[in-house]
Amino acid sequence: MSVKLTIIEQMEQIAREHGKILAPLKEDLVLADCGLDSLGFAVLVARLEDSLGIDPFTAAEDAFFPVTLGEFVKVYEHGGR
């Protein structure tokens, strides 16, 4: 499964578990508006570490977080930066 598909599946799964409704998951979707709250994102990052084997944010030396879904997927595709 592609990285992008894994991320989208996990987002849908977490939204179901947390009783949230996701906005349509397009490349330019602003993550802050996607429907998941901060706890949802924390769970997403933890689960992606399980399935993809990396946590690019905790590993990063400076604090950064992508703005759009497309950027978020790229961070994982590049295994960090």
Partner: protein
């Protein structure tokens, strides 16, 4: 409770008055401890020819490595040594100097296994062997003996908690003759408070005791317990969960099953009930500092709300800021060395154990210091473990903090399944979903583990408690 001026009998004296012979069984050796009224296990010293008279009035470090020799030395030296400083096996060598200084140790009892640590270069060193030989010296004059125990905290230098024998034995009631001969067993080490309680219970009750041995596989220990026909068996919930996985559990049929040292959740109580349908199953609450507070024998987790605010068997409990506080004659008197006060001005010891009231019962939620902060919301790992442990396929679980770039922390769970085949089997994804569903139904969202992993084993510390890493 002792009345002023009336001395409680020494341990040696109590043992001498027992009617039937009592035995202590270790993995490699055994001793008839009731012979100690006429004999001694303390032999020639290593650096000095020391015996009872050399240890009289001293602060004695019990640096014995096997529990059998420790047990004999305790019986022999109560009311003879000024202090008995009981060294648990897992105290790191770097802390030994601090222990010796804080307890003003000036003698050591050692056995064959004691390493030649430089810190143990004490004026008097006396060897102790599991064989009891006739004693040819008169008993030294009786002194009041302080018993020094180490706290079971897993980080930093241990604190030395000062007890006396009457406080340590205040919770022990005489066995009823109808109980018949008891064979006690314990998964604990008797050099910690929980194990020492069982040792004193057995020895004062004229029973025999099967001791545990460091590094002994659970199955071998259970086989020894079966061989001696154990009737009363005690351990932490983690130790019991490990024992229940072993096929050797089927060899034993204790009449009394006791849990203490950790939170006894409903799952482990039910698991023990299923394994031992006819046994009395009780969980006790005790801490090294506060002493034994209460026993619960109704098979349910938690304890009746009526225990708080009342005085029961000389034990008074109150809850302040969610934390259980205890005042009783079983409480330790102080910390040795320059440690802060053990009790508040009113004599209550803050146990640091957080309780929550639901209906007519209080339930233990976790340790005051073990709280995980998830984006500002507080979580006790123990409350999540209690929910996970309810799942029929789960044997034990450990919930821990994981760093999160978003909420600071998040909780993840490691789980040991009852059947190890399921860990890697085709159903594992389904099983994870099922456990998460149980968590979502029982817990608020932030307490549901972000990730679950199935592991072959979870580490249990030498104290019998789950090893909780910081971080």
């Amino acid at each position: 409770m002792n009345m002023a001026g009336v001395e409680a009998p020494s341990l040696r004296h109590s043992v001498a008055n027992l009617k039937a012979p009592g035995f202590l069984w270790d993995r490699a050796a055994s001793a008839r401890f009731t012979d100690l009224d006429r004999g001694t296990s303390l032999g020639p010293g290593i650096s000095l020819a020391g015996r009872l008279a050399d240890l009289a009035g001293r602060s004695v470090l019990l640096a014995t490595t096997c529990q059998l020799t420790t047990a004999l030395a305790l019986i022999e030296l109560d009311a003879i040594a000024r202090r008995l400083v009981i060294l648990p096996p897992d105290v790191e060598a770097e802390h030994l100097g601090a222990v010796i200084a804080a307890a003003e140790v000036d003698a050591a009892v050692i056995d064959d296994g004691t390493a030649a640590a430089p810190g143990l270069a004490l004026p008097v060193r006396v060897g102790c062997a599991p064989s009891i030989v006739p004693m040819d010296e008169a008993l030294p004059a009786r002194v009041a003996t302080e018993w020094l125990l180490m706290t079971s905290g897993t980080t930093g230098a241990p604190k030395l908690v000062v007890h006396d024998l009457s406080a340590l034995t205040a919770a022990i009631t005489a066995p009823s003759p109808a109980d018949g001969a008891a064979i006690w067993g314990t998964f604990y080490d008797i050099r910690r408070y929980g194990g020492l309680q069982i040792f004193l219970r057995a020895v004062l009750g004229g029973a025999c005791l099967v001791l545990s041995s460091a590094g002994e596989p659970v199955g071998d220990h259970l086989a020894r317990l079966a061989q001696h026909g154990v009737t009363h068996l005690s351990g932490t919930p983690s130790q019991w969960r490990r024992a229940l996985i072993s096929p050797a559990i089927r060899g034993i049929a204790p009449r009394y099953v006791r849990l203490s040292g950790e939170i006894a959740d409903q799952a482990i109580l039910d698991g023990l009930r299923a394994a031992f349908p006819r046994a009395t199953i009780g969980h006790a609450y005790a801490s090294t500092e506060a002493g034994v507070a209460f026993d619960v024998n109704d098979g349910l987790a938690g304890f009746p709300a009526g225990y708080v605010g009342a005085i029961r068997d000389g034990v008074e409990m109150k809850v302040v800021d969610g934390s259980l506080r205890i005042r009783s004659s079983r409480t330790a008197s102080r910390y040795a060395g320059g440690e802060p006060k053990l009790a508040d001005a009113d004599g209550f010891v803050d146990t640091g154990d957080i309780v929550e009231r639901r209906g007519d019962r209080y339930y233990f939620a976790g340790r005051n210091g073990g709280i995980i902060n998830i984006g500002g919301l507080k979580v006790h790992p123990e409350e999540i473990e209690a929910v996970i442990n309810r799942h029929p396929q789960v044997r034990m679980s450990l919930v821990r903090r994981k760093q999160s770039p978003i909420t600071g922390s998040i909780v993840v769970a490691e789980i040991v399944l009852k059947s190890d085949q399921q860990r890697t089997g085709a159903r594992q994804i389904e099983l994870k979903d099922d456990i998460l569903k149980l968590c979502r139904e029982a817990l608020p969202r932030h307490k549901v583990p972000a990730a679950i992993s199935f592991v072959p084993a979870i580490n249990v510390a030498a104290t019998g408690k789950l090893l909780r890493r910081q971080g």
